[in-house]
């Protein structure tokens, strides 16, 4: 299972990298979103998969839990990545509105024209 998950994250990272290298801003942003999915899956995989119970204390007879720490990390990461995605989206939108393009090559600035 772990190996499968890591290969899956590898595929996601490949896709995300390809998207980030694109010319259009929208693709770049989408690429970063895919990156965060990959990162979340990777973190939870690193904690070990299905090795115990849900990390909620309750029944006395259950004593092994899956690692709660990666989960806490991911929870934080999910919210932050949402905020960052929103910010970058708005930045792209604003740049498009002011400059009339979403093409990275045209956004380079006048110095290199």
């Amino acid at each position: 299972m772990e190996t499968l998950m890591i290969i899956l994250t590898g595929v996601l990272v490949t896709i995300a990298t390809y998207l980030v290298l694109s010319k259009s801003v929208i693709r770049v942003i989408l690429g970063t979103a895919v990156y965060s999915h990959a990162a979340h899956l990777l973190i939870i995989t690193m904690g070990g998969l299905k090795t115990g119970n849900v990390p909620i204390l309750g029944d006395e007879d259950i004593s092994t839990f899956v690692d709660p720490l990666p989960q806490a990390l991911i929870l934080t990461s999910i919210v932050i990545s949402f905020a960052v995605t929103a910010l970058v989206l708005v930045l792209a939108y604003r740049a498009y509105q002011t400059l009339g393009t979403d093409n990275m090559e045209e956004l380079r600035g006048s110095k290199y024209e």
């Binding site: 909620i56 929870l75 919210v79 949402f82 905020a83 929103a86 989206l89 708005v90 939108y93």
Partner: protein
């Protein structure tokens, strides 16, 4: 964005309340079962987003006359403030405490300063999410 969809509107009217109730439940359940400030805030935000999508902006504005930026700021203030509150009791920053009380009808109830912190988190999440979505969609 004028959407004319009677079915969606009717379903929304009911489901929004279910979602809101879920949010409140998640908030209070958070410490002992799945849930918590973040999730509650997000679910709350999702409910509002649904409203904004289904009805047009002005109607909701009238119905819920809240400035979400202020909510966000208030939430962050609350979260940071509980941290400083710890100083009053001469314990390190952000130290939380809890105790159990006997309340009639409900039995033993846990009261914790974490709840205040979590409330701050929820408010901040709701405020920020709605602010982001509203700012973008209002800017036509």
């Amino acid at each position: 964005m004028k959407i004319n969809n009677v079915i969606l509107r009717t379903v929304t009217k009911i489901s929004v309340f279910i979602i809101l109730t879920l949010a409140v439940y998640l908030f209070f359940a958070g410490h002992n079962s799945p849930g918590g400030g973040f999730i509650a805030g997000l679910v709350l935000a999702a409910a509002f987003v649904l409203l904004f999508l289904v009805y047009d902006m002005d109607t909701i504005r009238k119905g819920i006359p809240i400035d979400f930026k202020k909510i966000a700021a208030f939430g962050a203030f609350l979260a940071v403030g509980t941290g400083f509150g710890a100083f009053v009791f001469d314990v390190p920053f952000l130290t939380q405490s809890f105790d159990y009380f006997e309340v009639p009808f409900f039995g033993e109830v846990e009261l914790s300063t974490v709840t205040i912190f979590e409330a701050g988190v929820s408010f901040a999440v709701v405020g920020v999410v709605i602010t982001i979505i509203l700012s973008i969609s209002e800017d036509v």
